[in-house]
Amino acid sequence: MKETRRIEFIFEIVRILAALVIAYGVTLLCIMLISDNPGEAVYMFAIGPFTSKRRFGQLIGKFIPYLLTGTGMCFVYASNRFNLIGEGVYLMSGCMVALVATQFMSPETPHMVFILVLILVGALTGAAFGSIPALLREKARINETVVSIMMNYALLYAATYLVKAQMYDTSITYMASEPLPAAAKLTRLVSGSQIHAGIFIGIAAVIVTALIFFRTPLGYSIRICGSNPKFARTAGIGMTSSLIAAQVLGATLSGIGGAVDIMGIYDRYMWTGLTNMGFDGLLVAVLSKKNPIFVPLGAFLLAYMRTGAAVLNYTTEIPIEFVDIMQAIIILLIAAEHFLGGFKEKYIFKATKSKNKEAAKNA
């Protein structure tokens, strides 16, 4: 038995690595084919993010919200619901934070109070909007994927409307809110980089999520419901409440992510399209196999890839978008049950067979 488990574990790692290697290989090959200076391009993509404080800071600046949306999507994904509301609430939370910070709070509010209030605003926004698809799914059996995608677009337009109607800064040429007061911004930990205090919130989210997952009744319930709902019901687990909780908690974390991102990186709210952060969170959850403990790894990996692409974008002529293709390849390969699945079965079969032979010999 131990053998089987070892093979499964090794194959999981091999699968993820193989997915990454294939995606990376395809990408590097593309870069080499299209670039006039392939050596430099590959260098920029692979090593670029680590070559300066600013670039590494950019990586961490992406890593922080990924921690939050990634843990959020872990909740959703572990409960086996395909609820994508994380995308919409991310943006709406950013907007609400900007609204509260610029319109309803005095710029003189003490820094810590300001930050706490704004994070609470983000969390509540996430929970409020996140509860709609969750309730509709669990109480009325309405497909959560459809509702959440519809809501994402509705929230995008609503946020744009809020900016225009409530906090439009007419002194600038593009559409954005008035600037956030200094007290509302998260402290930069390393000057001249995007590394900000939000990283503590991100790490806290990972720890809290891991605790909820593995050390609370709710976490047990969510994982059991997600793994086998019929068994969960027979064992007397309150499914409706567990599944609603999972989806709302997921949205809440995404909401905090949007708030932290706005307060950490931006001077004002200026998102005019979907940020894709929710979908990226899903990728982080897929990379970390629904386990919050692995979220930092997944989040770092994605942040690294995206920063590499960004570095490549401004140092060479290659546009940043190729990384989206790479991302899709990784998702497909990791999520595909049958990718390398044949090998796994073969090895397990072999191991079991040789073990049976041994047992027969001993008997």
Binding site: M1, K2, Y220, R223, N228, A232, G236
Partner: protein, 516 residues
């Protein structure tokens, strides 16, 4: 009459090592109705799946019209003139009868589907064989009896010469059954060979020309109906192979724990599968329910466990009704439930042993720390104790259940249900498909819990060994009703039990006595 099908020395071993058929011989003639009977798990379904190309087999040979035949898929079987009416109809509800009948062989020019020709074909066949259905009606609007006719039409329209019917009367009313028999006899006159799988001996006697009996995967015998009677068939079907003795002191029943009164259940097909049954179980005793599967026993278990809701009657645990209570509440009232299908209702295969055992008690205050968190140390200690006590062969408590063998998975489930502190245990087929060692351990534990801890136990099993060895009192269910009650299960012979299970005999209320 010419021989149409010969299956010789068929042996089927499933990948998990289970031998479903062993040297089975089965011969069917043209124009006969041939009953294939046997207990659940006797290998009838496997044999028919092999014939219909749904399963491969390891040994033996198949001949159609005396020529060796290799049937690789259902489509292949259909091509060779074999039709099967499954217990669960293979139909598309929103389509019409004609569309369902011609699906896969749609008439029409080129890409077009010609509804009129489809309706005509359907109507012609249905007129020819007196299977009266309206080709234009939607399946969703039809009753079960008509839907079954559509299923037979589907086979006939594909020119089948061998028609397999898997327990066709299980879903029918007596009138519909009568009608079906008339139609089957008409098909027989047309030279079609019919394989009739059934548990209902009176039907077999009425309808069939020959009978083949399977038991534990082997052929017990084939004979013409004239040489048989229900009691004879029942004796051939029901029998014990190995006798495992379980030491058991006499029960000393105390307070009443479970009371079931006039319980009724109506299933999705609107059939009354539990039809007004009443019984009680006292602390310290094990009550078995025997019966051919599908006679309402499983529904009784699910009703008591709160998984399905009754159409009438009451269930009380220790004097309190379970009506409108959630499953968690019912479990908190003292119920433990080992469900029939362990992979679907008994465990979460991808999660560790620990999570699987904790599933029913995770909300209990007993395992809390600081109000909110689970007391992991305590949980781990208890899980380790259970793994040791129930001899679960595993690496450790964090191993996913799916990596364990079937017997060990069942041990995990049993460890959970036996350690929940329940005073009422519902064991529904607790040892099905499990190795001998684990089976013995589970049976002994059931007895020990009853005797030492005074647990009231309801045991539902189609394993006659088990039901006769383990139970103190024994009930027999047939067609959703209790048809027999034995005060001492150990004094019941298998022959007698079989006759009650198969409806050859039935006790009067006076004979049954008090069911509590």
């Amino acid at each position: 009459m010419a021989e149409i099908l010969r299956m010789e020395n068929i042996t089927k071993i499933y990948p998990n090592g289970f031998m479903a058929n062993k040297d089975v011989n089965f011969v069917v003639n043209e124009g006969e109705i041939h009953a294939l009977v046997g207990e659940n798990g006797a290998g009838k379904t496997t044999l028919m799946k092999i014939l219909f190309g749904m399963e491969d087999f390891q040994g033996g040979s198949m001949l159609l019209d005396g020529k060796p035949a290799n049937i690789s898929s259902p489509l292949d079987a259909i091509d060779k003139g074999i039709g099967m009416v499954h217990q669960h109809f293979m139909q598309v509800p929103s389509l019409t009868v004609a569309e369902n009948v011609t699906l896969g062989i749609e008439p029409g020019k080129g890409l077009m589907f010609d509804k009129r020709i489809a309706a005509r074909i359907t109507q012609e066949i249905s007129d020819k064989y007196q299977l009266k259905v309206n080709a234009g009606e939607r399946i969703a609007d039809l009753g079960v009896g008509l839907r079954q006719k559509v299923e037979i039409l589907k086979a006939l329209v594909r020119k089948c010469r061998i028609l397999i019917l898997d327990e066709p009367t299980a879903v029918l009313t007596p009138q519909e059954t009568e009608e079906l028999f008339v139609q089957l006899k008409a098909l027989k006159k047309d030279g079609i060979a019919i394989i009739f799988i059934s548990h209902k001996l009176e039907e077999v006697m009425e309808l069939c020309d020959r009978v083949t009996v399977l038991r534990h995967g082997r052929t017990i015998g084939t004979d013409v109906i004239e040489n048989l009677d229900p009691a004879k068939i029942s004796r051939m079907m029901v029998g014990r192979d190995v006798i495992l003795e379980i030491e058991k002191e006499p029960a000393q029943p105390k307070d009443i724990v479970l009371t079931v009164d006039d319980l009724k259940y109506r299933n999705a097909e609107d059939v009354m599968t539990v039809d007004g049954i009443s019984f009680g179980i006292r602390s310290g005793e094990i009550v078995g329910i025997a019966g051919v599967e599908g006679n309402g026993q499983n529904e009784v278990a699910e009703l008591v466990a709160g998984i399905i809701k009754p159409a009438g009657g009451t269930i009380e645990i220790s004097g309190k009704s379970i009506k409108n209570k959630s499953i968690r509440k019912i479990r908190e009232m003292g119920l433990a439930y080992i469900s029939e299908d362990r992979m679907v209702y008994g465990c979460a295969a991808n999660l560790p042993i620990r999570e699987n055992i904790m599933a029913d008690r995770i909300h209990s205050k007993k395992y809390r720390k600081f109000g909110l968190f689970t007391d992991t140390r305590k949980i781990n200690r208890e899980i380790d104790e259970l793994i040791e006590a129930f001899e679960i062969a595993c690496d450790d408590r964090s191993q996913p259940v799916r990596m364990l063998s079937g017997g060990n998975i069942q041990k995990v489930i049993v460890a959970r249900e036996f350690s929940s502190g329940a005073h009422l245990i519902l064991a529904n087929q607790p040892t099905r498909g499990i190795d001998v060692g684990t089976t013995e351990m589970i049976r002994k534990t059931l007895v020990r819990k009853a005797r030492e801890d005074g647990v009231a136990t309801l045991l539902i099993s189609s394993d006659l060994n088990e039901i006769l060895e383990v139970s103190d009192r024994l009930l027999v269910m047939k067609d959703g009703q209790i048809v027999a009650h034995f005060q001492d299960a150990s004094k019941v012979s298998t022959d007698l039990l079989g006759e009650y299970m198969l409806g050859v005999r039935r006790m009067t209320p006076e004979e049954m006595g008090d069911l509590v």
